[in-house]
Symmetry: C2
Subunit: 575 residues, 2 copies
């Protein structure tokens, strides 16, 4: 085949003959000459035919959008008055010598220049990909995976696949289950992550492993979640946090240089979880702007502003944001919107030579002489309510002030998350996961006051989005057992659920740790897309359906015949 | 961390200090000096400590197999009389300065020098990987995937992931199903292959795509099958068979050069399905030896050997293999074994100056004067029974004669398989799959006599093993519809099952085709392994269980609670 890509025509000598394949974009019929533009994944180009060949001319006149064609013709420079500097290949065109409709296209199912519903676009995904930015995003996704893979290979990591049909790990995300026809009553779980297996690989002596792992989670789907997603799973033996930071920072540097031509500075700043919460009100701080949360508890402790003073007297705090310019009512409106639904209230104070603008008691506030010119946003209450609330307002204000630059990339490591947190039912649960190494020197220390213990875990955050997280893992069976006990498991439960894993830890487990990067999210940021669905070829809707294929579906007759007896038995046995 | 790999010590200057991590292999205690060998994924090295440090000496004496240690020490040349040329790093050793047991190892669950059962090895897979050839195979697997990916990227292919949670495609392999908690009565199917999606990507204008796709098939597991396996899935638009052959031949050339240092000759020979069957009695001929099947029907048509003459008179054939040397009874025994169970019989005739050796009627056969010196293996009967039977005997004979060289790599393309075949129930079924382009010029031709139609399909065979297969696909909706009709689907069934796909074909589908390579099998051949389980990190047994994790398992309480009502509803509704 001598076909070349349209994007390569500009590198061909004028008057050469080329063969192109692609989709007709539009046809302009001037009677004795017909122009038509064709497109492939690399670009578009104008072709024309005239009365020199009546037969061709008639054929071309009948073309319509998305007909698939093969064109053979001569590369010509356009007449000077027809050069279109705003169009790709706008200075050249193809004089058609031969031409074939490979497959005519039926009328498209929706107007590609219109605004079809999300459902329609997913149902006819192939039209959407062909006509939108999805095609470029899929290319970027492929490049990103290639850069990451080559980087990790160069660093000595082996790509190893782990099973997707596996066993349910209690305590993790909710798994999908797969009934096993040949063993009625038994089920595979679809892997929610390769956690256990990657640790097994370290125990196996693999030393450095990675995988682009599909993960399956049967979650109640939120706005931007998918029941299956991809994570770049990385694990290494005999490493510390510093090794993981170095590795990932180098990867990001290479990725942003190769994909966006952007130079990312390393090392990335680091921040403990506590610092991130108190300064930014978030465990994923957006560092593209430096506005931080300050403490104003002292300033208001003797204030005549009762609402705040009362909170303080009850043991609460007053925290606030400050911007060194006065702002007007439109800023207040933006903050009001951001706060709505949270149940929290804020106090807006904009001070200038012209006086105070506030949503609070102006007369009282004028007595707060320590207020400087500029704008304050205060909130009062329990510290762990106030901080995330101000974190939200900070982002709203940042956006309002135009401080969120799409072309700026600010990474930060957030470390030292608490090891345990209190679940809704009052029990302790693992904040990261139960395999995370606690930052303690002895087992006694973790037993004494688990809630005080920090995890040797780290998240990597880019522009306020968590793109990955990991930890140093527990590699000793006795410590792992204690963590399970703290999580409330009995000896029998530990043995039943994790016995095989504790056996493995006892059998030559090296110290190890790793990280998992959210591949879909990373690609989304690199593409500048605003939804995961823009970087996944065939995504599902929020309700988990695929409008293209109609999945999920009812069972087919043959499946019913084989599976109903199994389901029946499961129901009768009570599982 | 300053740790280096053991394999890199030989590149370090003598008397340098290095830090190594690894597993203790064995300890030799000479009282005042103790030697111990440690291992990581790159190699082994001997370390020693002596009475210079009593404390270290005492620690080292307590080491046992697979203790995980960190060693700091000086690289020394061994005394001349202690150099071991048969051991890796046999000329150097490490004088230990500092030493730490990172994790002591419990007694191993089985004797790694013994012969544990397959089940035991799978249960303690991490021990098996660490101590066997699996570690090297996993590395090779990673290298193979990297070479393939880089090759395809260079050729302009984009790596794109397609969904694993999708819709059942009737007529394909049996799918696993996944109940959807949020839509009781509805199920995802686990993708058996990305067939529909890769075609959708072509229709989307992606032009060149590949994927290392996990495929899930709920099959009755045969000796060397896994419920999930990996295929290198490749698809391209505007291509013919020649483009696919070129692409794959170039890939194999690169792969065998990079991984084995073997130069593979291209182009690969090609053979139609009919040729392969008549010459080699197999659709995956092993071309490492050239013995072919010949027709002896004429020779026996007037023979006094009634058994054969009668077959011929009833319309059967006599086919045979020939080897130009006489063979003895041990060859006959090998062939007997290969034939046992097949129900077919063969006639062995070895002729030499010393007379005839045969399992047939010697007196009759001496009258067959056309027999030359050497050995014949004949079989008579219906052509399509005789050919595969002789194909089996050919392989047995080839192995017996030592003609199957493990270091020889003979590729062949087998093309032009029949489009349809007759299923057990008498209906027509697709021999490759229903999306394969038939080799016809008109739709009428395929309707008239479907069984005569050949598919534009091709398999790639290496040393008698099918490592991949593919086809040019149907890209026009009308032809696709006719194929579905020939397969016995009603209009309603076509619409219900494949309506969305026919819509897509009508909407700008380019001509396209591709191939899927069995990645596990390819790696197996490149590793010289004799089982898929030797190249998969965590395989399942023949009954689909994972002895390591205990999958599949019964439902957990929380799962029962959520899933039983769903199963109940499905059972009540009859699916």
């Amino acid at each position: 085949m001598n076909r070349i890509y349209i994007g390569d025509v500009k590198n061909v000598k004028l008057d050469s003959v080329v063969e192109l394949c692609g989709w007709v974009q539009y046809v302009r019929d001037f009677g004795k000459v017909v122009f038509f533009v064709i497109k492939d994944r690399t670009g578009i180009i104008q072709c024309y035919t005239s009365t020199q060949s009546e037969e061709l001319l008639e054929l071309v006149k009948k073309l319509s959008i998305d007909d698939v064609v093969r064109v053979r013709g001569t590369v010509k420079r356009r007449p000077e008055d027809q050069i279109n500097p705003n169009m790709e290949n706008g200075d050249i065109e193809i004089e058609v010598e031969d031409f074939e409709v490979l497959n005519p296209c039926a009328p498209l199912p929706y107007d590609v220049n219109g605004e079809p519903s999300e459902f329609t676009k997913l149902k006819y995904r192939y039209v959407d990909i062909r006509h939108g930015e999805l095609l470029a995003n899929l290319k970027t996704r492929s490049v990103v995976s290639s850069v990451i893979r080559n980087y990790l290979s160069r660093k000595g990591f082996w790509e190893i696949e782990t099973p997707y049909l596996t066993k349910y790990t209690p305590g993790g995300a909710r798994n999908f289950v797969v009934p096993v026809r040949q063993q009625p009553g038994y089920f595979y779980a679809l892997a929610e992550s390769p956690q256990i297996f990657k640790q097994m690989l370290m125990i196996s002596g693999v030393d450095r492993y990675f995988q682009f792992a599909r993960c399956f989670r049967d979650e109640d789907l939120r706005a931007d979640r998918q029941p299956e997603f991809t994570q770049v799973d990385i694990e290494a033996s005999f490493v510390t946090e510093e090794d993981i930071y170095d590795l990932v920072e180098g990867m990001m540097q290479e990725l942003f240089r190769e994909v966006l031509g952007v130079q990312v500075e390393t090392p990335f700043p680091r921040m403990t979880y506590d610092e991130a919460m108190s300064l930014y009100g978030s465990d994923k701080p957006d560092l593209r702007f430096q506005m931080t949360i300050d403490d104003y508890t002292n300033s208001f402790s003797t204030s005549k502003f009762n609402a705040f003073r009362n909170v303080i007297e009850r043991g609460g705090v007053v925290k606030g944001l400050y911007w060194n310019k006065p702002l007007d009512r439109s800023a207040l409106k933006v903050l009001d919107q951001a706060a709505s639904g949270s149940g929290n209230k804020f106090l807006f104070v904009s001070k200038s030579a012209n006086g105070l603008l506030t949503n609070g008691p102006k007369s009282v506030l004028t007595e707060e002489t320590w207020l400087e010119d500029g704008t304050y946003v205060f909130a009062a209450g329990d510290e762990w309510d106030v901080l995330p609330f101000l974190g939200e307002l900070r982002l709203a204000l940042g956006e309002y002030l135009g401080l969120l630059d799409d072309n700026e990339y600010k990474f930060v490591w957030v470390t030292s998350r608490p090891m345990f947190e209190i679940a809704e039912d009052g029990s302790l649960q693992a904040a990261h996961h139960p395999f995370t190494m606690p930052d303690v020197t002895s087992i006694d220390e973790i037993r004494k006051d688990p809630l005080k213990v920090r995890a040797r875990a780290y998240d990597i955050v880019l522009n306020g989005v968590e793109i990955g997280g990991g930890s140093i893992r527990i590699h000793k069976a006795d410590l792992q057992r204690v963590v399970f006990e703290i999580l409330g498991l009995s000896s029998e439960q530990i043995e039943e659920r994790f016995g095989f894993f504790l056996d493995a830890l006892s059998c030559g487990a090296p110290p190890h740790g790793g990280i998992a990067l959210g591949f879909d999210r990373l690609v989304m940021l690199l593409c500048g897309a605003d939804s995961l669905r823009q970087v996944i070829a065939f995504p599902k809707t929020k309700s988990g359906t695929c409008p293209l294929t109609g999945a999920p579906a009812r069972l087919f007759a043959s499946q019913r015949q084989e599976l109903l007896p199994i389901f029946k038995q499961v129901v009768e046995e009570g599982g």
